[in-house]
C-alpha cells in the first residue's frame, strides 16, 4: 500500500488538521504529515492522539515531518 502523505505547509489554522483528519478517515496504518510551524505540529499531534494514533516527529529543514502510526 502506498504511504498517505499530507502536506500542511503554509496553510492557516485549522487546515493542516482538517487535511490530516481527512487522511485518517479510512483508518490507514500510517500517515505522513508535513507541517511548517509549531502550532500546526501541536494541533496535528493532538488530533492524532485523540484518533488513536502514535506520533513520531522529526525536525526537517523548515518544519516538521510527522509519522502517524495506528495504535
Amino acid at each position: 500500500m502506498e504511504l498517505i502523505r499530507v502536506d500542511g505547509r503554509g496553510r492557516s489554522c485549522p487546515e493542516p488538521v482538517l487535511l490530516t483528519k481527512k487522511a485518517l478517515k479510512n483508518n490507514p496504518a500510517t500517515v505522513e504529515v508535513i507541517v511548517d510551524n509549531a502550532t500546526a505540529r501541536d494541533n496535528v499531534r493532538r488530533l492524532a492522539g485523540n484518533s488513536g494514533y502514535e506520533v513520531q516527529i522529526s525536525e526537517a529543514n523548515d518544519g516538521f515531518i510527522m509519522i502517524l502510526k495506528s495504535r
Partner: protein, 368 residues
C-alpha cells in the same frame, strides 16, 4: 482528565492570567469591562494617529504594543519566529476590515465579549450566540474546502517590521508629539498607567503565543474536531474574570446600564456573527492575528492593517455603535459585510463550484 494534561493546564492558566490582568487594568484606569479589548484598542490607536477623528476614542494603547512585543520575544526565544506570507493578502485585509466593523457594532472583540459576559452584561450573551453562529458559518465553508492557499517563506527583514512598527508607536506614545491625538474625555481618556499597561500586554502576548490562545479557535475546534482544548482558555478567562468582578463588586446582571454597551439585541447578535464568520475564514480572532503577526506571519500583519483601517472606516463613516445604540450606517455596513464575507467564502471553497464547468474545464481541450 483535561487538567492533568500539561497543554490544557497551560491554556487554563494563560486564560486566568489574561482575566486577572484585565481586572487589574480596569482597577487602574481602563474603561469598565475593557481591561483588554483588541479591536477597541486598535481603534483608539488609529484615532491617536488621526486616521479617524472620534475625539473620545484616541489613545495609543500600550497593551497592543506590549502584546505584539511579548509574543515576538516569546516566539523568537522558542525559535518559532519565521517570516512568511503570501496567502491571499488583500482578501485578508478586507476580512480584517469587516471583522472590526462587526465588532464595533457589538462594541468589543471576542475577548471583550467574554469579559463583558463575566461582568453580567447579558447583551454579550446575544453577542456570544451570534459569535457561535458566525463560527458555524465559517466551519460550513471549511468543511467545503475553504482555503486562502498557502504562505511561503519571505525575506527575514519582513517579519521584524511589525514589532518595529509597534516600537515606533511606543516612541510616539512616550514622546507624544503634537500631531498625535489623545482623548481628553470618554473611554480614550481612561487608561491604566503606561508602564503597567505595557507590561500587562507583554505578559498577555507571551502567554498567548506560548499557549496559542484563540477565542474563535476554541468554538471552531469544538465544532470541527470535538476538541475542547482551545476552549479551556475561554473558560479560564470567563471563570477568573467572573470571580474578580464578584470580589471587586463590579458584577451587575442585566441588559441595561452596562458600561460601553448598547442593548439592541439583534445587532449585538449580527455584529458578533460577522466577526466570528470572518475570524474563522482568517484562521483566528483579532488577538490571535496579533500573535501570529508578531511571529512573522505577514498575512496576519496585513489583516491587522485591515483592522486598523476598519476601525477608522467605522468611525469616519459613522458605523460604530455607542451606548445610544447602532446607527443605520452601521447596520448597512454589517449587511454589506455579510455579503462580502459570504462571497469570499463561496469563491475560495474548493468543493463549491459556481464558475467551473462540470468535469472541469481543461484549457488544453478547447478547439478554436
Amino acid at each position: 482528565m483535561p487538567f492533568k494534561n500539561k497543554e490544557a493546564r497551560l491554556m487554563l492558566m494563560v486564560g486566568a492570567m489574561v482575566a486577572m490582568l484585565a481586572a487589574v487594568l480596569v482597577e487602574l484606569g481602563n474603561p469598565a469591562n475593557m481591561g483588554l479589548c483588541i479591536v477597541c484598542f486598535l481603534r483608539d490607536t488609529s484615532g491617536a494617529l488621526g486616521l479617524h477623528r472620534a475625539g473620545v476614542v484616541q489613545y495609543i494603547r500600550p497593551e497592543i504594543i506590549g502584546i505584539s512585543l511579548g509574543a515576538f520575544i516569546m516566539a523568537f526565544s522558542r525559535r518559532e519566529f519565521r517570516s512568511r506570507g503570501g496567502s491571499a493578502p488583500f482578501t485578508r485585509f478586507i476580512l480584517g476590515i469587516f471583522v472590526v466593523i462587526g465588532a464595533l457594532v457589538f462594541l468589543g472583540c471576542p475577548l471583550r465579549m467574554v469579559l463583558r459576559l463575566a461582568n453580567g452584561d447579558l447583551n454579550a450573551l446575544l453577542g456570544l450566540v451570534g459569535f457561535v453562529a458566525g463560527i458555524f458559518s465559517g466551519v460550513f465553508f471549511l468543511n467545503r474546502g475553504f482555503t486562502l492557499k498557502r504562505t511561503y517563506a519571505s525575506v527575514n527583514l519582513e517579519g521584524y517590521l511589525f514589532p518595529a512598527l509597534q516600537l515606533v508607536f511606543l516612541v510616539l506614545l512616550v514622546v507624544s508629539p503634537a500631531f498625535i491625538f489623545f482623548s481628553a474625555e470618554g473611554p480614550g481618556s481612561m487608561k491604566a498607567p503606561l508602564i503597567i499597561a505595557l507590561v500587562a500586554g507583554v505578559l498577555v502576548g507571551a502567554g498567548a503565543q506560548r499557549s496559542r490562545l484563540c477565542m474563535s479557535g476554541g468554538i471552531r475546534d469544538a465544532i470541527l474536531f470535538k476538541d475542547p482544548h482551545l476552549l479551556y482558555g475561554f473558560m479560564g478567562i470567563f471563570a477568573v474574570s467572573l470571580l474578580a468582578n464578584l470580589i471587586l463588586g463590579n458584577f451587575t446582571l442585566g441588559f441595561t446600564g452596562q458600561p460601553v454597551a448598547h442593548n439592541d439585541g439583534l445587532w449585538n447578535f449580527l455584529g458578533m456573527m460577522l466577526t466570528g464568520f470572518g475570524a474563522v475564514l482568517l484562521g483566528g480572532c483579532p488577538l490571535r492575528q496579533l500573535i501570529l503577526g508578531a511571529e512573522g506571519n505577514m498575512d496576519s500583519v496585513i489583516t491587522i492593517m485591515g483592522m486598523y483601517v476598519g476601525t477608522a472606516i467605522s468611525h469616519n463613516f459613522g458605523l460604530a455603535a455607542s451606548g445610544a445604540g447602532v446607527p443605520l450606517n452601521g447596520k448597512v455596513a454589517v449587511m454589506i459585510g455579510f455579503a462580502v464575507v459570504l462571497t469570499i467564502g463561496v469563491l475560495n471553497s474548493e468543493y463549491i463550484s459556481i464558475f467551473k464547468v462540470k468535469g472541469d474545464a481543461n484549457l488544453g481541450t478547447h478547439s478554436s
